[in-house]
């Protein structure tokens, strides 16, 4: 075997981009613990990257973390975020109601545009594919309650870790093209969406139907698409087959699955999912206090009034294995913002006291994940706290403080990861 100069090799490995230095995205490198994780966390904050849910299997999915089984809510394990696009079979799942489709007959399924349109229409999936120009956009789908288990004091709701998010290349029909096709009549104020999700509760309550609406004058209407492809393939059933709404930059509560009705409304949508649920305090970062809520001092707005705050995550190293002093360690992960491109990611190896710029990966547009990489060569053994901080093109920087609101929304505090460095002698 040809001798390779050790220094040169280490330099190459440190430079990144070497295939042999990359880990497969679909490998679970975290050790299988000999003792199971606790089955719940609290009243303190959840200390783990993911929520403490068991791995389970579902149709069209790799083993994912089961938060709840009826309605279905599945969290994506950390290691699937090594790649800029999240695999369909690892993409998280979040339903509100338990009656969701097991089968759909495409000869009978139609997308219905009804309400205040010039000509209400029904379109088959084939017509959507053939009659309208397909467009593609890379966009992050993130649950409003992603990382809710970090809240202090804890709040009720889905106790997600960081895995209620995913990035995909979505392909489908522009909402604008559909609206023009049916002709939005004057007097329309909102466009309402409804899918196939139903529940056992009364029809007029949130437990019976799930509906969301967007303001017709919201600029996001121009960017919204109805996607029938996700990363180039038909949507998994649990991610909204055959058609789902993609609302770039907005939280996923608006990204309806199995979209079947699009309604032009002449009055503001007052259904539970707009008027009562998914509301955030009307404060600068959506933060408030339990005391102000109890005193009824908090004015709220639908979470659609804001975009997703800037966030970044440490994917490697994950703390499950030690690093070796004197050898390079790659600190890698993803960052995104609902307000536009991530322009800077900084890494700290001293818990956030000093920061150094990381190298950014390819740019897939303003709404996509962006990967980052930073090569760190720890010289001394010990315990270190890594931290990562992103800045977007609008100048938004991640804060080092947590938010608090009763819904458990908008978490974007700087993430940290403790790692152990071993001496090599």
């Amino acid at each position: 075997m040809k001798q390779v100069d050790r220094r040169r090799l280490l330099k190459l490995l440190g430079a990144g981009g070497l295939a042999l230095a990359a880990r497969p995205a679909l490998a679970q490198t975290a050790a299988q613990a000999e003792e199971a994780l606790p089955s719940f966390t609290g009243p303190k904050a959840n200390p783990y990257w993911n929520g403490v849910h068991p791995y389970t299997v579902y149709p069209q999915k790799l083993p994912l973390l089961r938060m709840t089984d009826r309605p279905i809510q599945l969290e994506t394990p950390r290691h699937y975020f090594r790649t800029v696009f999240t695999p369909n079979e690892a993409f998280y799942v979040r339903y509100h109601l338990d009656e969701i489709p097991n089968e759909i007959d495409l000869s009978k399924w139609r997308l219905k545009l009804e309400g205040n349109f010039e000509r209400p229409v029904e379109l088959s999936l084939e017509e959507l594919i053939r009659r309208f120009k397909p467009v593609s956009i890379a966009a992050v789908n993130q649950c409003s309650g992603n990382s809710r288990s970090r809240f202090q004091p804890r709040v009720t709701g889905g106790q997600w870790g960081n895995g209620a998010m995913g990035n995909a290349l979505w392909t489908g029909v522009r909402l604008k093209d559909l609206l023009d096709y049916a002709g939005v009549k004057p007097g329309t104020v909102q466009i309402q969406f409804e899918g196939l999700e139903r529940g056992k509760g009364p029809e007029n309550l949130g437990s019976g139907r799930f509906l969301k609406s967007l303001d017709l004058n919201d600029p996001v209407i121009g960017e919204t698409i109805l996607a029938y492809l996700m990363n180039g393939e038909p949507l998994p059933m649990l991610n909204g087959f055959p058609l789902r709404l993609v609302v770039p930059g907005k939280f996923a509560t608006y990204w309806l699955k199995h979209v079947t009705w699009i309604r032009a409304l002449t009055e503001e949508d007052k259904n539970f999912w707009m008027a009562s649920a998914y509301r955030i305090p009307d404060t600068p970062n959506g933060s408030t206090t339990p005391e102000d809520v109890a005193a009824g001092r908090v004015k709220t707005v639908p979470i659609g009034k804001v975009n997703m705050p800037v966030r970044s995550f440490i994917i490697d190293p994950d703390g499950s294995y030690p690093l070796i002093a004197g050898l390079p360690a790659k600190i890698r992960g993803i960052a995104f913002s609902g307000y536009g491109r991530v322009v800077r990611v900084e890494v700290s190896t001293d818990g956030g006291q000093t920061w150094r710029r990381a190298t950014l990966g390819a740019d897939y547009g303003p709404y996509s994940f962006r990967t980052y990489e930073f090569t760190w060569r720890p010289e001394r053994p010990g315990t270190y706290v890594l931290a990562v901080r992103a800045t977007d093109e609008k100048g938004n920087v991640q804060p080092d403080s947590g938010v608090w609101n009763p819904g458990g929304y908008l978490w974007n505090k700087i993430e940290r990861q403790e790692v152990v460095v071993l001496a090599a002698k």
Binding site: Q32, E34, S39, F40, T41, G42, P43, H53, P54, Y55, T56, V57, Y58, P59, Q60, P63, R66, M67, T68, D69, R70, P71, I72, D98, I100, N102, E103, I104, D105, L106, S107, K108, S149, R154, T156, G158, Q159, G199, K200, G201, P202, L205, G206, S207, G208, M237, L238, F241, P242, F272, S276
Partner: protein, 134 residues
């Protein structure tokens, strides 16, 4: 390097052994959760236009034993599995949550007031920071 052919492989089953090199521990095994994750089932073909994924599996968590458990399992599970209860952090006061289920989500349509009280008592007895064990 000296080859030590004579060390029987079976030693690993008796617990780990101390190896020749100080500080090296070898042959330590622990039982893994075999069979908990199954291979994917083959797809069942639809009728030409039917997209079908089959039944969704239930992985419902166990509730703590105690008075009212059966009521929780039958009434709460009308709309959602009881996994929703075990998934929450321990709550000091379950009353707002129970009220939300009854009023906001219309659970009172299915759940009589006396049953609702027993459900609340069960949750307080097993799922607060002081009372939660598992």
């Amino acid at each position: 390097m000296k080859k030590r052919w004579l060390i029987p492989v079976g030693l690993g089953l008796l617990g780990f052994v101390l190896a020749e090199v100080p500080g090296v521990v070898e042959g330590n095994y622990a039982q893994g959760p075999l069979g908990l994750i199954l291979q994917p089932a083959p797809a069942k073909p639809g009728e030409g236009t039917v997209y079908r994924v089959g039944a969704y599996p239930l992985y419902t968590s166990e509730l703590a034993d105690g008075e009212g458990k059966e009521l929780v399992m039958s009434y709460c599970a009308i709309c959602h599995s009881v996994t929703y209860i075990t998934m929450q952090p321990p709550l000091a006061d379950w009353k707002p949550t129970v009220t939300k289920m009854l009023k906001t989500y219309g659970g009172e349509k299915f759940i009589p007031p006396d049953v609702a009280e027993k459900i609340l008592a069960y949750l307080q007895a097993h799922y607060t920071p002081e009372t939660r064990k598992e």
